[in-house]
């Protein structure tokens, strides 16, 4: 029974990981950018929510209404200024610059928020309560809600990409940005839109993480970035739904690891990630044969 519980927990956590991962996948798919500051930006969103809730007295569950658009706008700005310039210099520069950004953000947060952890909505019933399935399985409401949000976000992204004008432009620019220019599209602007989308989802991920766990300055890299990337790699690059599959596999692997040895939860996830990298770098759902 404990194993069933583990699997259910793992699957639901997969929703959270998918939320972590879809922004990363979008940026990598469109711009070929591995944003090493991805996780830290989620933590920034989390802290922003904390600020909005405690200082501006916005009700907890409405904090995302402010934080998500702010982060999306910030994402557009970050892309057009810093990341585009790094992209023009090359892949290595982009990695170095996003790494630098990650370190700067973390230390900045450390300076202003100290290493103490913060939570979001710890007093809410939604966050605290759970329901029972049978006699031995406890499922937290929050996890179910986060899973549902992740599915909605993925559906929304998929619809946007397939049916809207900018969604088409984003896919076109991802295929061939020069040909897109010849069709009149300014790819820098399109990249900016993609980054705005990515950071919007990142904001949701950060807030969700703040509710599910606690925020601390290094959570961005310790937890979020590596799990996000693991979900992307396991699920397959270029596939939005793959991030959900990847997230679920990661979550289940972690829970099974925890069953074997409680302190091995994170380690189990890493090992699965490394295994997939070695054996099938294109992931589990990708159709391509080369990463």
């Amino acid at each position: 029974m404990a194993w069933v519980n583990a699997i259910i927990q793992g699957v639901l956590t997969g929703g959270l990981y998918a939320l972590f991962a879809c922004g990363l996948s979008l940026m990598f798919g469109v711009m070929k950018v591995v944003n090493l500051a991805h996780g830290d930006l989620a933590v920034v969103a989390g802290y922003l929510a904390v600020f909005v809730i405690t200082v501006l007295h916005v009700p907890t569950l409405w904090s995302f209404v402010i934080v998500v658009p702010v982060m999306a706008l910030g994402g557009y700005g970050l892309q057009r200024t810093v990341i585009q310039r790094a992209l023009d210099r090359g892949v290595l520069t982009t990695l170095m610059v996003t790494f630098g950004l990650s370190v700067v953000i973390e230390n900045f947060l450390l300076q202003f928020f100290t290493a103490n952890t913060r939570g979001i909505g710890a007093n809410l019933a939604l966050v605290q309560d759970s329901f029972s399935l049978g006699s031995q399985i406890q499922v937290a409401y929050l996890l179910v809600v986060i899973f549902a949000v992740a599915v909605v976000v993925l559906l929304g992204l998929q619809y946007f990409l397939s049916a809207s004008k900018y969604g088409r432009l984003i896919r076109a620019v991802a295929d061939d940005k020069e040909a897109a220019q010849l069709a009149g599209a300014d790819y820098r602007h399109v990249f900016g839109i993609a980054a705005a989308l990515a950071l919007g989802t990142v904001a949701l991920a950060g807030i969700a993480y703040g509710m599910y766990s606690t925020l601390d300055p290094t959570a961005g890299t310790d937890t979020i970035l590596l799990f996000a990337f693991a979900a992307v790699v396991i699920g397959g690059l270029g596939s939005l739904w793959g991030t959900l599959v990847g997230g679920i596999v990661l979550g289940v692997a972690q829970q099974i690891g925890a069953q074997i040895n409680i302190s091995d939860e994170v380690l189990a996830g890493y090992i699965v990630f490394l295994a997939v990298l070695v054996l099938r770098p294109q992931g589990l759902t990708s159709r391509r044969s080369q990463a």
């Binding site: 591995v34 290595l92 170095m96 950004l101 450390l110 970035l225 890493y270 070695v278």
Partner: protein, 350 residues
């Protein structure tokens, strides 16, 4: 007349290809003098200064390694802290079994080089973004694995034994000399590697990887060598770290901050130049000493400066100097000497 026409018209015996320009003799002598002076320090300066210098040597070694990987082989690793930690734990392991930590240092370095081989097998096919994250995951994984060993102190770490017979003065001096030796060997190693045939391949990769591959150069072997050498270098630095701190804590030795420091130092000083890490380390030490009472600020400023340099002054501070003065302290390129005496650099190598 172009050089080609002159070569056709004038006797070719007058054209010579040399490895270096006039100034290398001065650099060689200068380097020896500096090393000798540095080696004398423990006799004349306070232990506070030597401690700071030990830290500088560690960062300089690490930066030279990161420069070798990112600046010459195109490998951006954000997981080098894995080797720093492994080096430290190697020393701890041997010290716990009765060896002197100083004697364990070279073993730790070699050990890290050996471990680098299977790690390379995991990483070699990965492209830049994947490679970077994979190194980070590997580092995190290695730390988690090591933390399982209570004999090594688990998650809290433990003090480093084996110094009981040494007086504090001698300990400081030996630590200092060990750090100096590691740095000198690391930089000499990098210099010699880049002067070798393999070094030519690396410089080619630095300039244009696709061209290097298509010319048949042994790109794969070059990268493997670089990864292993960097593993050895970072491992040695980690060993020195353990010795200088007299204890080994996983969160300290496996801290990604090490990669941040070596990366920023390299970027600011000048990626792809041997002189760069020296300048970058100097900048780092200045920042760290001035701002150390302000906690995380030095890393913030260091990081911002590194980002700005990466975006606007690609070749770093040394690149700016080099462009103006056309100076090369550690020449690894080839020069064509024409009969009228000016060594004109045949290609923008080294």
């Amino acid at each position: 007349m172009s050089l080609a026409t002159r070569a056709a018209v004038e006797p070719t015996a007058d054209f010579r290809v040399t490895r270096s320009r006039r100034n290398v003799a001065w650099t060689g002598a200068g380097a020896l003098i500096i090393v000798a002076v540095l080696a004398y320090f423990p006799y004349v300066v306070y232990s506070g200064t030597t401690t700071i210098l030990v830290q500088a040597f560690i960062v300089l070694t690490l930066a030279s390694m990161w420069n070798l990987m990112a600046g010459y082989a195109g490998l951006v690793s954000v997981g080098q802290q894995a080797f720093v930690g492994l080096g430290a734990y190697f020393v701890l392991f041997f010290a716990l079994h009765g060896t002197s930590p100083f004697a364990a240092l070279p073993v730790a370095a070699i050990g890290c080089g050996v471990i680098a081989l299977p790690l390379w097998w995991l990483l070699s096919r990965l492209r830049s973004g994947y490679f970077a994250i994979a190194t980070w995951v590997l580092a995190a994984t290695i730390m988690l694995i090591i933390e399982r060993f209570s004999s090594l102190g688990s998650g809290t770490g433990m003090p480093l034994p084996g110094f009981a017979e040494l007086s504090p003065v001698l300990l400081t001096a030996y630590t200092y000399w060990a750090a100096l030796a590691v740095t000198v060997l690391a930089m000499a190693g990098v210099y010699l590697l880049l002067r070798s045939r393999l070094g030519l391949v690396l410089t080619a990769i630095r300039d244009d990887e696709t061209a290097a591959r298509s010319s048949g150069a042994r790109v794969g072997l070059a990268r493997l060598t670089v990864f292993v050498v960097a593993g050895i270098g970072c491992g040695a630095a980690g060993a020195v770290l353990a010795i200088s701190q007299l204890q080994v804590q996983p969160s300290a030795v496996f801290d990604v901050g090490w990669t941040a420091e070596m990366a920023f130092a390299t970027i600011i000083g000048g990626l792809g130049t041997i002189e760069g890490p020296i300048i970058g380390t100097a900048v780092y030490m200045v920042l760290q000493q001035t701002l150390q009472s302000y906690n995380a600020w030095y890393l913030i400023i260091f990081g911002v400066v590194a980002m700005v340099v990466a975006l606007f002054a690609r070749r770093g501070l040394w690149g700016l100097v080099d462009d103006r003065l056309n100076v090369r302290l550690f020449p690894v390129g080839y020069y064509l000497r024409t009969p009228n005496g000016n060594g004109r650099q045949a290609n923008r190598s080294g």
